[in-house]
């Protein structure tokens, strides 16, 4: 088994049953995994910020930094790899916040709002949705089984395919 680390502002796709995709320490960032259980292809992205318009130059160099450009790119690559929309299992975690009464720091909430819009536009539903609060989370996706896991505050929870 090999661990494929999805760095911050990055995305990975795998069809190797020996791979587990993992991304660490999601604060306000969003971690999204999408898996097709029939062809056993999965992708995972670690987005930092909601919209690419905040830094247009960066969106060309690092599309996965942003939820809008990153999700569009990941979905495109998964469809190219043979994924079917009806089979896609979408799991989402992250989007936490520091305690901020003014709301300027609500990057996590803004990330999730943009993600929901994109999923809605693409006709995709969320399976696991573990978003918000003030936890830091680490997520993984096992390509062989589609099992999605969330580790947070020393606790590990596994989610099998629906």
């Amino acid at each position: 088994m090999s661990l494929v680390v999805v760095d911050i502002a990055d995305m990975r796709i795998s069809d190797n049953p020996g791979d587990t995709l993992v991304t660490y320490s999601l604060g306000s960032c969003l971690g999204v995994s999408i898996y097709d259980p029939v062809i056993r292809v999965g992708g995972m992205i670690h987005c930092m910020l909601p919209l690419s318009k905040v830094d247009k130059e960066k969106s060309r160099l690092r599309p996965y930094m942003f939820v809008d450009t990153g999700m569009q790119e990941m979905l495109g690559q998964l469809y190219e790899a043979g994924m079917r929309k009806a089979r896609a299992v979408v799991n989402v975690a992250g989007g936490s916040q520091v305690l901020d009464s003014q709301g300027v720091f609500k990057i996590g909430e803004r990330n999730f709002t943009v993600l929901r819009k994109i999923l809605w536009k693409n006709g995709l539903l969320m399976n696991v949705q573990e978003v918000g609060g003030n936890k830091s989370r680490t997520i993984s996706l096992d390509i062989a089984t589609g099992r999605f896991s969330i580790k947070s505050g020393g606790k590990l929870v596994h989610y099998e395919l629906p």
Partner: protein
């Protein structure tokens, strides 16, 4: 003996600041310092010289691989920036231990500290607030107290867990309640023992309580906000996650908007990657 008594002893016994940094810091506030003096201090440490050249040649500092000597590096970056870089390079080995009390793996505190320094500098630039250089240094040093408190947080794990389960509150408040001192105060005491300038000490002391400061408000607000952004981005959050409070007054005082934060986060990631490679 209370936790506080033992912690006080650990603060007093915390290793001296690296001697080279101490010599160099004496020149940080001197605008007319001759670069020959700096060159003389640095050049006898070949590892340090090599790292200064790598930094001077890095994209972050606008280099293109053309700086071949310490003298050229000093001319390109200016003595003040070189002093800061040398300070960073000499202090960074202190920030790498595994800190199980806070749930920070090896090098995570260094990543958090560097991220905070870079983000504070970027915020200062974006918001046209002076002190770009000072806030980088404060960012780098603001969490030194975490190293001292770590074994005590580990020992009092049950108390900390209970406090968190009990409900709303920030980690700093629990540190004071359980250990009698916060990591911010412990860090400030170390920096005082190192005879660092009052703005650096104040920046560390009040980085979670900017409203308590009586001077250096701009520096403290910037470091506080950069620290919160770093934690928010999941950089060095540790076991207790994002349970830290943003001070609204700091947001208002510097005129911070969400676009500033998001732009800073995006810029800091790339600079971080470059410095990560150099510090490792």
């Amino acid at each position: 003996m209370s936790y506080l008594d033992i912690i006080e002893q650990h603060i007093a016994a915390f290793p001296e600041m690296p001697s080279l940094s101490q010599s160099l810091l004496g020149y940080l506030d001197d605008p007319d310092v001759d670069f020959i003096v700096i060159q003389d201090l640095v050049q006898y440490d070949p590892g340090l010289t090599a790292n200064v050249l790598r930094l001077a040649n890095s994209v972050y500092f606008g280099g293109a691989g053309t700086v071949g000597s310490l003298q050229q590096a000093l001319v390109r970056l200016g003595t003040k920036r070189i002093l800061e870089l040398v300070l960073s390079l000499t202090v960074s080995p202190r920030l790498v231990p595994n800190l199980p009390g806070y749930g920070l793996q090896a090098r995570e505190l260094l990543r958090h500290s560097t991220w905070t320094g870079l983000a504070a500098r970027e915020l200062a630039r974006l918001l046209s607030i002076p002190h770009e250089d000072t806030v980088f240094t404060v960012g780098l040093l603001h969490d030194l107290g975490v190293i001292v408190l770590d074994p005590f947080v580990q020992e009092a794990r049950i108390d900390f867990n209970e406090s968190f389960e009990r409900g709303h509150g920030s980690f700093e408040a629990f540190e004071k309640e359980i250990l009698g001192i916060s990591h911010a105060e412990a860090g400030a005491r170390i920096l005082e023992n190192w005879h660092l300038s009052p703005e650096i000490v104040a920046g560390a002391r009040w980085h979670h309580e900017p409203d308590q400061a009586t001077a250096f408000g701009e520096i403290i607000n910037l470091v506080h906000l950069a620290d919160m952004l770093s934690i928010s981005q999941g950089v060095g959050t540790g076991i207790y996650g994002l349970a830290h409070e943003v001070f609204s007054e700091s947001v208002r005082a510097v005129g911070l908007r969400k676009k500033h934060l998001e732009y800073t986060a995006s810029k800091t990631l790339d600079r971080m990657r470059e410095l990560d490679a150099i510090f490792s």
